[in-house]
């Protein structure tokens, strides 16, 4: 029991929570934005992989870190445009198209990586983002080192969550996106072009997914390997449901999951001798399913999610 309390009382755990949460926050926001407009984007896993690869590759070839981050976002947006072409313009199944984008983007990432970087014994590395201590706040005891000594993309992710919450709920654009996700025919009757809204939301959302991937190679680690996203994209899809399609709650959900994950990592090192570590690995997922079961029952799913929109049809 004291081991558990020691873990909870260490600033290292809480600093790790924010670090683990960052790609989840960005990915969940991206998936949430797509779904608010009525498009499920299962391309997330592949788009994150590609973002991780292309961001890293750019920096490896001499670009600075922020340029790498931006290129990852643009690449994500391009895959978003592909998904939008398939699901919005052509009205294909969003499940099938999304999984197709994931398969394509994942293998394409590895292909490009292997073309650009020859096989080597140990993977090549770059110099990642350095943590920045926020003046003043980082000097606070415990809270300071836990929350205010992070790399810039982490701060950016939190700001983006607040910004997206504002856009979705407080601006005419956000209302147009929500209306499109609820009833595109009603949106059109009010003079909004639902196709344009969906394209915009899917491209912007996918750019966030690309950034989520880039965080892994440019901040969390310093090299790229093809399996590094490790299902984080799928976690994001679940977190969207957990958050009831609300950006603020998505932030909370991502932090909660990251907390479980950071906690189990440390439990492994303290109790790992007595209990097989695989049991600890399961903890965040089991707790997520439990939380999802509780939250999702009350969630109000966007009514037009996964329904292609065609003009003049009802």
């Amino acid at each position: 029991m004291s081991a558990v309390l020691d873990i909870l009382a260490s600033a290292g755990l809480w600093a790790a929570v924010l670090r683990i949460a960052t790609p989840l926050i960005l990915g969940t926001l991206g998936a949430l934005l797509c779904e608010r407009s009525g498009v499920l984007n299962l391309g997330i896993e592949g788009i994150m992989t590609f973002g991780a690869m292309i961001g890293w590759l750019s920096v490896y070839n001499g670009a600075d870190l922020w340029t790498g981050f931006l290129i990852a976002a643009l690449a994500g947006g391009l895959f978003g445009a592909l998904h939008a072409l398939l699901t919005v313009t052509l009205g294909l199944s969003q499940h099938v198209s999304g999984l197709g984008v994931t398969l394509f983007a994942s293998s394409f990432s590895y292909y490009v990586f292997r073309l650009a970087v020859p096989v080597a014994g140990s993977p090549p590395t770059i110099v990642p983002f350095k943590p920045i201590a926020i003046p003043g706040l980082s000097d606070l005891p415990f809270i300071g080192p836990a929350f205010f000594v992070q790399t810039p993309p982490t701060y950016l992710a939190i700001l983006l969550a607040l910004l997206l919450a504002y856009v979705v709920f407080r601006t005419p654009l956000g209302l147009a996106i929500r209306m499109t996700g609820e009833n595109p025919h009603a949106a059109e009757a009010q003079g909004i072009n639902p196709m344009a809204v969906r394209y915009g939301a899917v491209i912007a959302g996918s750019a966030l997914m690309g950034m989520a991937g880039a965080f892994l190679t440019l901040s969390a680690f310093n090299s790229f390997f093809p399996t590094m996203v490790q299902g984080r994209g799928w976690i994001c899809i679940a977190l969207v449901v957990f958050s009831s399609w609300r950006p603020g709650r998505a932030l909370v959900g991502a932090l909660l999951f990251a907390f479980f994950d950071g906690f189990q990592l440390r439990l492994q090192t303290t109790l790992g001798g007595a209990v097989p570590y695989q049991l600890f690995l399961m903890i965040p997922y089991i707790l997520s399913i439990a939380a999802l079961a509780v939250m999702a029952r009350r969630a109000r799913v966007p009514q037009a999610l996964m329904q292609p929109y065609r003009r003049g049809e009802r």
């Binding site: 005419p172 609820e182 949106a187 059109e188 009757a189 009010q190 003079g191 009802r314």
Partner: protein
Amino acid sequence: MTSPIPVLDIVGVSKRFGSNLANDDISLSLAKGEILALLGENGAGKTTLMSILFGHYVQDKGQVLIDGVALPPGKPRAAIRAGIGMVHQHFSLAANLTVLENVTTGTESLWSVASRRSEAREKLLAISRRFGLTVDPDARLGDLSVGEQQRVEILKALYNDARILVLDEPTAVLTQVEAETLFATLKDMAAQGLSLIFISHKLDEVMAAADRIVVLRGGRHVAERRAKDTSKAELAELMVGRTVTRPVREASTPGEIVLEAAAVSVRAQGVDVLKAVDFRLRAGEVLGIIGVSGNGQGALAQLLSGTLARTSGDLILFGTPVEDRLSVADVVASGIGRIPEDRNREGAIGEMAIWENAILERVADYSRRGLVDRKAGKAFASRIIDQFDVRGGTPTSRTRLLSGGNMQKLILGRNLINRPRILLAAQPARGLDEGAVAAVHERILEARRAGTAVLLISEDLDEVMALADRIQAIVGGRLSPPITAEEASAQKLGLMMAGEWQAEQTHAV
């Protein structure tokens, strides 16, 4: 009527869909403060014309003038800006958004950094006060009743400063009381200077609410009448293109009692939906159950269809007391035909073929060695299509493609073709046009002649008075004692529907 230029002028509009000429050179005009009814059967081209007006479709020929200025075709935004507001039959609303959000979507520039919510709320409240359309701006739309949702749809149009309001079959989803409130509101709007067009195929409401009536048939403008210079009979003939008379029941002697309920009560989800109801249904007669929707009709129909169990009382079917509850399989096996209230949801499965819907209730009869006998099923569907005059589909076409009237004929046919002993008909003519109503009524009377006992649940006075031998009113889950058709008058039934039979009875005694 006083202004020289009409508010709206539709000039020579034509629209073709494939081989179907939906609108053929239609012209009409609308004056300020006028209520115009666009009357026609389903498929007469009313909705197409209004969709052109609103920019959802682009016409092949002709133009739409607002205050004498031509409207660019195919641009909903331009139509909104010109002051046209559309109230769709299937509401264009989002259930998960609030009333205010539904109304204000798209009314501000998409790129402004903040929604002006307090101003929007004030404007909405001002409009709702002006026209007496009370609604809570912060209520979630999905929590509102259908009537309130329609109010939101109207408010949405008015919020966009509509001067011309188009309502597509506004009463299709409303109860009688809600419909009356709506028409009072529309008259008030016209008095305040708005111009209104409402699309309808119901003669009563057209006569009651409109100043002028334009009749469309087969995509053509066939007649135009002032409401005060015409009659329901004339309009019916203009609309259908021939004289339609609804069939009327002829005298007959009913047979033995096939279904009897004695003090049957049903409690569902903690509510007493049926309270000690008594009725007797005899072979070869129509028993009409009249009442405003939501007074227990649903529970009564479900009880007799086997999908709801009674809590107390006795149910005697063909002389045998029903033990516990009827199962759906028993109901089908014992020859009870059912016409459910909502044909799209409970009556037929739109995505399935006509023949599949035809045999769905008795798949076992159309199976061989565990496989569906498609040939027999299609043959059965063909027989229904022939005998019941189902138009617009073959046995293999999708059921959704049928019009409401033809889908109802299919459901009727499926139930009547094997001569059921009891027919349970809930709102059988709801939403159908005049020709289809006559056809459905004729079939029900035909079944009655053949000795079927018909339980007719309806909220349409004309329908019940034309078909039923005896009538009971349903109010708050209670049934009135029966009166004969000869005793019934619209006034008396109206009182019974308001629950006034207890007083009547004591007088009689």
